[in-house]
């Protein structure tokens, strides 16, 4: 099977808890750009149970063809079953490029698929492009904790696979009038593969809050304000401006915030519109998780803290002095507004 | 069956490692406990190493291409500086290049290389481990050490302490006194990055060879101190040391002090444009002969900086550390082989050290620290006056030599006083005689 017979840019549309993960739509937007450069079509793959209804959305967001694998056996994600389905679709339809959102599920799944297909897989990309000469996919990703960027390509193997960070690619405008094909594929689940059972799911206790990846405003605490009093002030500020609390690793280690609220290399990457960093020095491990925020406000008592180098607005001083003053000032101004 | 050791050495610097090599070569089961990530990671020094001393342990080491030698020093200078000028006295020769007499090295690289030599000799080195307590038996005899690791007690026949100037361990154990502030100097050193060709060119050296400067004077702002400048392969080491009390009195921070030094007319052209690569600070024992603790006891020996062996005048800490480490190693071999590590046996070490140049030199310069501390004019007024004197002599302004002489003497009288000057000269002579 020669390489030329592999055509199309395939995007995996992840459905979790009955909802489509937005990164799928973001990738459809990106796929369209890539596909036009190599004169190919955009394909989408949805695996799950009761997911056929999302096919039309996939078309609206840019897919020309949507493959739907819908079976009760796929109700819960387990690696083996999803990987098998994915591989079967890929072997049947031979897309040149396959993109998967780098969510927990996406990163759990992609390694298995690529290994079976002996395909090249580039993880957690922040940039995609097509090489002018070879027409191959170029994937750019951070390595060494973000200190160094690498651009990777596949010298062999099909499809060329990449997992892409959520919230990096622009969300496209859906066009409900778009036309496309929906192809239902039957890949029944082999009961022998159901060796992994989900026993329980315990949602986070802070039910009243939004995941930090979805928050538009984040108030982040670091080592410099890692006390109950400090946390309280940050929560007050967050409440005032409608934001969510998050923080760097020391806060997680101290039990002040849950791990899902950790921002950084070993935590989450966030791209909110507003990120207020209090008592965070700005070590590279934290920066990689938030440096693409639109507006970064940094408060630190160390005038040489690295965070000031990336902050939109910097205030030098202790949180004890600054944060209450900020809250007061904002209250005044918000009263006026 | 757990592995046992005859000799435990606390500290993997030049003193401890020298003792280790000597002992291991003689077949003594030796283990070195180092608190840093690797030997040398916690060590700081000016940068100059004496070939003769190292050759006693590693003959012809400098012929080994892997030896981390920065430059071979063939040009040594002493500088008296005031804040607008400097008088240099130097000696340059080809005779110190092959075989080399004095070399510059980078502490971390050197200590690691030296530690590898120890490993080759059969020494076991444990890093990232702090010795927290000295273990003794009921008679008070030292029988081993307790480290900070779980299950971290190590018993042995003899312990050599080579754990540096401060050693809270030995102070806690009552083996040594705490270092008084007036007996400690704080040294700060900056390594300035240029390039190999640039260093060779600026210092007028041959490739691979270099210069050392010992600088005395009032460039240390209202503070009595000595500065050093040494050439490394592609960097220059610039450092200032002063008594801790002096640092406290001075309003200037060590960083600012080095910056001032870099602006000095004699120094600036040599380091201009270079990038600061590294910044270190370290304690140096400065008390001299009178502060040396008892070097031995039942089951243990002291060597190196922890024994306050440091020649303030000649800046020879590393040198003395290696030598006493070697002597301690030899003593350990004898004592362990003869099965006697008692105080009386180990007193031989004390005699050896006293008879070596180490203590002979320290005794000779015994009064020197006092001289320095009690005569601040040595650091300030004197270089000032000497500088003025030379400037006056060099200045071409139409005055006759006789007139100039009068001006000079008047200056000396005014700033120092002839009798004071002569008295100082006499005391200085006596203190180093």
């Amino acid at each position: 099977m020669s390489d030329q017979e592999w055509k199309g840019v395939l995007v995996f549309i992840e459905v979790t808890d009955g909802k489509v993960q937005e990164v799928g739509w973001e990738l459809l937007g990106e796929a369209k750009k890539l596909a036009s450069k190599i004169n190919q079509n955009v394909q989408a793959l949805i695996i799950g149970h009761d997911v056929e209804k999302f096919a039309k959305d996939a078309i609206a967001y840019g897919a020309d063809v949507v493959y739907v694998v819908d079976d009760p056996g796929y109700k819960n994600y387990i690696t083996k079953t999803y990987a098998k389905a994915f591989v079967e679709i890929v072997n049947k339809h031979k897309p040149d490029i396959a993109l998967i959102g780098a969510t927990n599920l996406g990163r759990d799944l992609s390694g298995a698929i690529a290994t079976v297909l002996k395909a090249g897989l580039t993880a957690d990309c922040t940039g995609l492009d097509i090489d002018d000469q070879s027409k191959k996919l170029l994937s750019t990703r951070p390595t060494f904790g973000g200190n160094i960027m690498a651009t990777i390509f596949c010298q062999k193997g099909k499809p060329q696979m990449s997992t892409v960070r959520p919230k990096v690619m622009k969300m496209p405008e859906p066009d409900p009038k778009r036309q496309g094909h929906v192809i239902k594929e039957s890949v029944p689940v082999d009961p022998k593969d159901l060796t992994v059972k989900i026993l329980e799911y315990i949602p986070d206790s802070c039910l009243e809050s939004v995941e930090i990846e979805h928050a538009k405003i984040l108030v982040a605490g670091g080592r410099g304000c890692n006390t109950p009093a400090g946390l309280d002030k940050l929560k007050e500020l967050a409440k005032l401006i409608g934001g969510e609390l998050c923080g760097s690793r020391p806060l997680v280690e101290a039990g002040a915030i849950t791990p899902d609220r950790q921002v950084g290399q070993t935590g989450k990457t966030v791209v909110p519109r507003v990120y207020i960093a209090v008592g965070i020095s700005g070590a590279i491990q934290h920066l990689v998780g938030m440096q693409n925020s639109d507006c970064i406000i940094a408060i630190n008592s160390d005038p040489n803290a690295p965070i000031f180098k990336v902050a939109t607005v910097s205030i030098v001083g202790s949180w004890q002095a600054i944060v209450p003053a900020v809250i007061e000032e904002l209250k005044k101004r918000m009263g006026r507004q | 069956m757990e592995e046992t050791f005859d000799l435990v050495i606390v500290g993997g610097g030049p003193a401890g490692m020298s003792a280790a090599i000597v002992a291991a070569r003689a077949g003594i089961k030796t283990i070195v406990i180092e608190r840093g990530e690797f030997p040398g990671s916690k060590n700081v020094y000016g940068g100059v190493v004496y070939v003769h001393e190292i050759e006693k342990i590693l003959p012809d080491f400098w012929k080994d291409k892997t030896a981390p030698i920065e430059r071979v020093i063939t040009d040594s200078r002493i500088v008296f500086a005031n804040d607008h000028g400097a008088m240099q006295v130097g000696y340059k020769t080809d005779r110190f290049s092959d075989p080399p007499n004095v070399i510059t090295t980078h502490r971390a690289k050197w200590d690691r290389w030296y530690a590898n030599k120890a490993k080759e000799a059969g020494v076991l080195i444990v890093n990232n481990t702090v010795v927290e307590e000295v273990l003794r038996d009921l008679t008070g005899r030292v029988t081993g050490v307790r480290t900070g690791r779980p299950d971290g007690d190590l018993y042995c026949k003899l312990v050599i302490f080579a754990d540096g100037a401060q050693s809270p361990l030995l102070v806690r154990a009552g083996i040594r006194k705490e270092v008084k502030a007036e007996h400690v100097a704080l040294s700060v050193k900056e390594t300035i990055q240029l390039s190999e060709e640039e260093v060779t060119k600026r210092f007028g050296a041959k490739p691979g060879e270099g210069v050392t400067f010992e600088i005395l004077g009032s460039l240390a702002d209202k503070m009595d101190g000595v500065a050093i400048m040494y050439t490394n392969k592609d960097t220059v080491s610039l450092g200032i040391g002063a008594n801790l009390e002096q640092w406290k009195k001075s309003k200037v921070t060590p960083y600012e002090m080095i910056d001032k030094l870099k602006e000095h007319p004699m120094i600036k052209p040599l380091v201009d444009g270079g990038q600061t690569k590294e910044y270190v600070a370290h304690w140096l024992p400065e008390g001299g002969y009178d502060t040396i603790p008892k070097l031995y006891g039942n089951g243990y020996l002291l060597c190196g900086d922890t024994a306050m062996l440091f020649n303030a005048l000649h800046r020879e800490g590393t040198n003395l550390a290696q030598e006493t480490g070697r002597l301690a190693g030899e003593m350990a071999v004898k004592a362990i082989k003869e099965g006697d590590t008692s105080e009386s046996m180990l007193s031989e070490y004390d005699a050896n050290v006293k008879n070596s140049f180490v203590l002979k030199d320290m005794r000779k310069y015994r009064k020197f620290p006092h001289l320095l501390f009690n005569n601040p004019m040595i650091f300030q007024t004197l270089p000032d006056v000497v500088g003025d004197m030379i400037e006056e002599m060099l200045l071409v302004d139409g005055k006759s030599k006789k007139e100039k002489q009068k001006i000079i003497v008047r200056n000396i009288r005014k700033k120092v006083g002839l009798y004071r000057l002569m008295g100082l000269a006499l005391r200085a002579w006596r203190s180093v005689k």
Binding site: D108, T151, I202, I217, Q291, V313, S314 | V126, R149
Partner: protein, 278 residues
Amino acid sequence: MHIVVLIKQVPDTQEVKIDPEKNTIVRAGVESIVNPFDMNATELALQLREQYGGKVTVITMGPPQAAMALKETFSMGVDKVILLQDRGFAASDTLATSYVLAQGIKRLEADGEKVDLVICGKQAVDGDTAQTGPGVACRLSFDQITYVTQVDKIDLDTRTIVARRRLAKGVQVVQAQLPALLTVEKDINEPRYATLRGIIAAERVKVVEWCAADIKADAEQIGFKGSPTWVKRIFTPPPREGGPKFDGPDAVKKALEVVLDNQHFKEAVFGEEGVCKR
């Protein structure tokens, strides 16, 4: 129970820089460490051994100096350390690496040492791909559990393992069949401080070394040739520019002038988006 831990020796990421001329990573003078996630993996293996009995084997694929990383795990108390070392393994991407590691495990099994559990760190802090663990699981047909923050129970009779996974919005408790492969998160445990005896033993231990032939590795699947992904180029990301900095008594007032003038802040806090939907 036989537990295999897969580790990687990585450069200390804080210090890594690019050589501007050769466009390669400068490794000279950069310290090497055991990948932090792999220390957690090793600690988990030791804890499980304490609880259920058995032995722990640590394997790494790397150059000769990777033996130091193995020795570090040995000082923590593992039973055996194996280095998969061969010039042909160099320049392997994750596909080739998972192939080599899986071959190494297959060799252990062929030698009669059946493997019940493989534990890996979630990702290596240099590559950051998190692909190697799942790749190995796939090749061995082991059940895979990623992002593990706790192992609840192992039942050697029913050959099941129950573990907790950290997902975006909650914790999932799953049960898998042995043999299985886990990738662990950093918050799963605190790696133990090696004992003095452990360090001494680590200095003395003989690291088992296997080359490509020893693990029957196919030349086409290892190293450069066996890697579908190649690096086209590496570069230092452009630094983000910082804005105004405020200090002193009026800092807050002045800073807030700028903040409240910022488009993003205005839209986020005062626009519709600012209303937090709870």
